[in-house]
């Protein structure tokens, strides 16, 4: 009997049980906050002031205000002002997130493909440069980047931001490189016998094989870009 209790106590305090309890606590806090936030969004200001925790006394459709009335005044680079509403903000967010993420997922894939399938001196140099550059803890480039964007007249534009992100220097490059190196050469050889050129082999045969990796990288890029929007918000003052 004592042994069973001791075993039970040991199991209760095992690593898995402790992590489980911490996770449950995390989930509980998360859902309390989210549920409270959603409920609050249906209250009037007066209701929120006197009835912070309860259900809304009268359910308000505050989203009406957001969609129709909510506008923010922003200053353009030339000093002029304009109003930006929710739809423009959403559209810009989508353009920014999708555009930048596509660029930062596609360039590592493209360069990874070239370095993996076309082995030459330049490919070797490219791989070495990317690996070395990734290791360098440089963090002072942001202001010089802003200066360059202004000089190139692409400051405050989504196109400029996408151009900035269209580089292969990231961890994703190594993922694509390893993936393309793992694809047997026979695919290309068979395609060449059938008369396929370099473009067709790349776009119709090899890239479709990398689709799931590309999609994962793209999703991760959207999430990271989403979190780091603060960093890129200087060059997008009016957007």
């Amino acid at each position: 009997m004592n042994k069973t209790i001791a075993k039970g106590i040991k199991k209760f305090f095992s690593l898995n049980s402790l992590i489980f309890f911490v996770l449950i606590l995390y989930v509980a806090i998360f859902w309390v906050l989210v549920a409270w936030g959603v409920l609050t969004s249906f209250k009037s200001y007066e209701d929120f002031r006197v009835n912070i925790f309860g259900l809304p006394k009268q359910w308000m459709w505050n989203y009406n205000f957001i969609f129709k009335m909510f506008k923010v005044k922003v200053t353009n680079v030339d000093g002029s002002m304009n109003d930006v509403g929710v739809f423009t903000m959403t559209w810009n967010s989508v353009l920014y997130s999708v555009g930048c993420s596509l660029a930062s997922a596609f360039m590592p894939m493209l360069v990874g493909y070239m370095c993996a399938r076309y082995k030459n001196k330049y490919s070797k140099i490219t791989v070495s440069v990317i690996i070395v550059v990734m290791q360098l803890p440089l963090m002072s480039g942001q202001l010089a980047t802003l200066k360059l964007l202004r000089q190139l007249h692409i400051y405050d534009s989504i196109g400029g931001m996408i151009l900035l992100k269209a580089h292969p220097i990231s961890f994703y490059f190594l993922i694509f490189l390893a993936m393309f190196e793992g694809i047997p050469k026979e695919y290309e050889e068979a395609a060449k016998i059938d008369g396929a050129g370099n473009w067709k082999i790349m776009l119709s045969i090899i890239f479709p094989m990398a689709w799931s990796t590309f999609f994962t990288v793209f999703t991760l890029s959207i999430q990271i870009g989403h979190r780091h929007k603060r960093i890129s918000s200087f060059p997008l003052k009016s957007i």
């Binding site: 690593l15 912070i52 440089l138 002072s140 942001q142 473009w199 990271i224 979190r227 603060r230």
Partner: protein, 303 residues
């Protein structure tokens, strides 16, 4: 002969194709990486006369930057950055690793927890900031009032609880992608190794320490070093909470440089800020290189 000609043509075509595809990435690298980083070392020594449209070289930006970095109110940010990194290493990282271990072992509810831990990373952090801020500023004091009858200040309004409250938020939001990447690294551990360790009695915490950690040490090192690289650019979410008007006691180096850059009107405002960034880089670079070397040399071996 004909075959040689065809091979020669094919090689030429391959070269042309290669050059065409690699042209854009090369130009992008030369302009947006090489030029930018060379310029970032030059910018702190430049001064712009915007009216005259001229640029001159000066050393005064460095002394001005040092003066700002060591001024009393900003120096406090240095301590905050160190504290925030310490908390991330001591709390967020171990928790992320343990959560990942739980998910990797496919324990009860692991799929559900994986999604929940990832959710704060998908939803904009500003949404959570607004909910959290209103909760700790309004809801919590109201709850305390209704339970104890005592009136308390909001946790962010109160100077003593402001920093811990913001730090707790940072920990809460920090798990998403870390857990996914750690879990993926753990999934690479071979079953044979786990079985062999089990026979030697390495289960539960022992398995985590002696099997899992050594195997994912490389991934762990990347996160550790990445955190160190960002040590002085972190703003503790102060911008999300306070915008450009954060109280002095939550301003970090990262926050200060960010806000000043945001306020900058033209290129002429950049050199002093670039000098500050350069000074910080000069501290961070040797630190990162040393830690990377130490992690490689003294980290656990997979054998």
């Amino acid at each position: 002969m004909i075959k040689n000609n065809t091979n020669g043509k094919q090689k030429k075509y391959d070269k042309g194709f290669y050059a065409l595809i690699m042209l854009f990435p090369t130009i992008q690298f030369l302009i947006f990486y090489l030029y930018v980083h060379v310029d970032s070392f030059l910018l702190p020594f430049q001064s712009y006369d915007l009216a005259g449209g001229t640029m001159s070289w000066t050393g005064s930006n460095i002394s001005q930057a040092l003066e700002i970095l060591f001024s009393q109110n900003i120096l406090h940010g240095f301590g905050l950055n160190l504290m925030s990194y310490g908390i991330s290493v001591c709390i967020s990282m171990p928790l992320s690793l343990l959560f990942s271990f739980y998910i990797y072992k496919k324990n009860f509810g692991s799929k559900f927890f994986r999604i929940i831990l990832y959710l704060p990373s998908i939803i904009s952090s500003l949404v959570f900031v607004i909910i959290y801020q209103n909760f700790v500023e309004r809801a919590l004091p109201s709850l305390v009032m209704s339970i104890t009858g005592e009136q308390i200040q909001g946790l962010i309004e109160n100077m003593e609880t402001r920093i811990p409250t913001i730090i707790v938020f940072g920990i809460f939001m920090s798990f998403g992608s870390n857990v996914i990447l750690y879990t993926n690294a753990m999934l690479g551990i071979s079953d044979e190794m786990v079985d062999a360790a089990k026979l030697d009695g390495a289960v539960g915490f022992k398995e985590f320490i002696y099997v899992t950690m050594p195997t994912i040490w490389r991934t762990f090192s990347v996160f550790f070093i990445n955190g160190l690289m960002m040590i002085f650019s972190s703003d503790l979410n102060a911008y999300a909470f306070f915008g450009q008007l954060a109280p002095e006691n939550v301003q970090t180096y990262g926050y200060y440089i960010f806000v000043q850059t945001k306020k900058a009107v033209n290129i002429g405002d950049y050199p002093v800020l670039a000098a500050m960034s350069l000074m910080i880089s000069l501290v961070v670079i040797p630190l990162v290189l040393f830690v990377r070397w130490a992690l490689k040399k003294y980290g656990p071996s997979e054998e």
